[in-house]
Symmetry: C2
Subunit: 477 residues, 2 copies
Amino acid sequence: MAAPAEFLQYIDDKADAFIQRLADAVAIPSISGDAKHRQDVFKMADWLDAQLKAVGVETKLVDLGKHVMDGEELPLPPAILGKIGNDPSKKTVLIYGHFDVQPADKSDGWETDPFTLVIKEDGRLVGRGSSDDKGPILGWLNVLQYHHETGKPLPVNLKMCFEGMEESGSEGLDDLVQRESKPGGWFEGVDCVCISDNYWLNTRTPALTYGLRGLTYFKVTVSGPGRDLHSGVFGRTVHEPMTDLIHLMSKLVDTQGNIMIPGVDEMVPPADEQERAIYQSLDYSIADVEEAAGNKIAISSNKVEVLMGRMRNPSLSLHGIEGAFSGAGAKTVIPAKVSGKFSIRLVPPQTPEKVDPLVIAYLKQEFAKLNSKNELIIENLHGGKPWVADVNHWNFEAAKRATKAVYKQDPDLTREGGSIPVTLTFAESLGVNVLLLPMGRGDDGAHSTNEKLDRSNFIQGSKLLGTYLYEIGQVKA
Amino acid sequence: MAAPAEFLQYIDDKADAFIQRLADAVAIPSISGDAKHRQDVFKMADWLDAQLKAVGVETKLVDLGKHVMDGEELPLPPAILGKIGNDPSKKTVLIYGHFDVQPADKSDGWETDPFTLVIKEDGRLVGRGSSDDKGPILGWLNVLQYHHETGKPLPVNLKMCFEGMEESGSEGLDDLVQRESKPGGWFEGVDCVCISDNYWLNTRTPALTYGLRGLTYFKVTVSGPGRDLHSGVFGRTVHEPMTDLIHLMSKLVDTQGNIMIPGVDEMVPPADEQERAIYQSLDYSIADVEEAAGNKIAISSNKVEVLMGRMRNPSLSLHGIEGAFSGAGAKTVIPAKVSGKFSIRLVPPQTPEKVDPLVIAYLKQEFAKLNSKNELIIENLHGGKPWVADVNHWNFEAAKRATKAVYKQDPDLTREGGSIPVTLTFAESLGVNVLLLPMGRGDDGAHSTNEKLDRSNFIQGSKLLGTYLYEIGQVKA
């Protein structure tokens, strides 16, 4: 059955209380990346655990051990596993969220205290974590509260995985997910996954996200002189590492974004007309991209090319150089050892395993052409595979119907340029379809100042999450 | 007449006393670049003034005003003008030196306290300023002391200019030199200039230096995004400033040192066989260059090409990038605004006025080819003309004869890759020949730790300075 009208009404009726609960959550400064706030992440775990129990969820807090941050050994906040319902005739949905937040300080430029939720007249709920990712977690709580209070059974069995280290590399989570995905583990029987931790493309159109780019990050070091040299004394007498490195870096990507490493762009099949139509239909324009970038610098005047550049094509960015003169002013140094940093965003079928050898061979070949006596060292700093899900899977179909029901419009089907590594861990460990179902808008400013979640996104988004579960409940087994 | 044997003997006899005087000078930490030591520079000026007066020099301390350093207004140490002798039948020689020193601290890696002159068993006199430039100034004092004590007249009239801000940009000196070079000024009647403030090429062969390269320094900024962007979200959707800048910087100099800006290398006439022979004959090898650079990275296996690269050809060095990611680790940023820094060492007939327009036009042209919507800004941070003197002038001929007399070998005739701006100021203000007559060796470590002057260079060098004056005295008017 579709989501009952009573459920939708309940969410509307309780809106103020739900917003108050969001304010309570925002008030706990659960910054995982700041040792001073580590106890607040634990406090947040306890708060969430209590909320889950209050709406009938069976929970387990899992100790993830310790880690070292900024030279200090710290206990990792627990992951919270939850479950409710165990009806073999129903689908089992695993939901994920994180209860830690990015750092925030009034002095960074916040208009108000970041840990006091402020309700603006235009409907914005401003506070750190409002959108990333406390709002979405509380959306699930809102859905559960309805069923708990009314005694109505959920249309699905739910499993839950909430972590407190997402903003700091999800330490310990991969091992936990892999362990609990095995037979007898907490996630046994999961049929699909739903993650609400990203954003609409724009401020108008709900979105379902079915792809994320992977990454491979390189550090390329050229060294030669025994120490930094004076350019007056040594200019034009020795091979200068900076000259070599700049030439090498200029061979990686052209100014139109094409990757110059043979075989890398070519590994990705061109989009056919059907796929191009997806990007053409997205409610996102070049003007939107340029507004987000802060200037009219889109790499193409073709909307499809620009959106595919972000979502379905690989990209190579040059981030900087370590070891060169980087200060203000004029210094006439020949740096002895310089390291160029660049990364490639990967899309299927690219993986670091397939792309890295091409990059390394090409760098060596191009360096050899330079005829330099300096030394080249190539290091791969880290990498991760891309992820793309089947948008025709019943998990996505349910989300599409739910979106249409709540928002009266079809969702944008998006792929994201960045990475959410846990997505791939769930997909690979469980072997089931994973859906990214965002609650917030593209301008929420998740890692920025004045982070917000719009009231309508919180309330309609809570309805969406519940409706999605009802739509899953209608899927034939 | 040649330098009297009695003079040479006197220098040998007084060697220990001269070294003690050098120790007294080194003991005053006259660091011009450190506000805490500014009073020591004044103290050093008073010490030198007293020494000069004691050997019969008429002096004048010139107040050069104030300046701001590190946000603090400080009085500039005085320049010391000196004169001795006023015989119209003799040549008038202007000598220059500086009594301030580079910073030095034991913790930088000095084996001994930098401001305590240590006499090593191998003859090294180790201490800050021993070679740069207190040793050479005291060499002149040694010569003057002989004539003062014996009552013998100097073979020339001497004018002197000693400053205390050389290591900090020679603040105020240009104005003073230009003023005193005018009719009625302190330097009226000067026939030639001798500056002892540089080094032999190697550790074996005395040198005369007749050229210095000039410089023009550029900052090239590419900007576009309104703020730093996330490469996952924006990679391949916008023109990235780093990509543009790296391409631009790769068009400036090739990995063999050739300047790629049309017209810049071409402005310098190629060396003919006679000039190449000068470099071939220098007692300096590729092995010496590579030892100084700390690795076998000479840009050519041809000695003449390598030495001309340093001395008589222009060079372009890429120093670094401001605004890009320059830290350790892996950051996936697209920097919003990046500034490449590079400089060109200039040789005659190049000047900043002739070269800068070529650089600017080329940068604009190459940037246009990139088809980027980002913005380019080109700034020239500073510049200075090159200097080359006539090595056949009687001033140089006198120095050659003096070198042969004292060291029993012909000097290397060298040009330096770096700049000593006051050289050009003297040459242009006075319109006379300027000679650089180094006292120390190529491994003295002037701006480094454990700076030293070899005892033999101090003593033989003092003889050289005196003998040079006697050789000038023999020049026909």
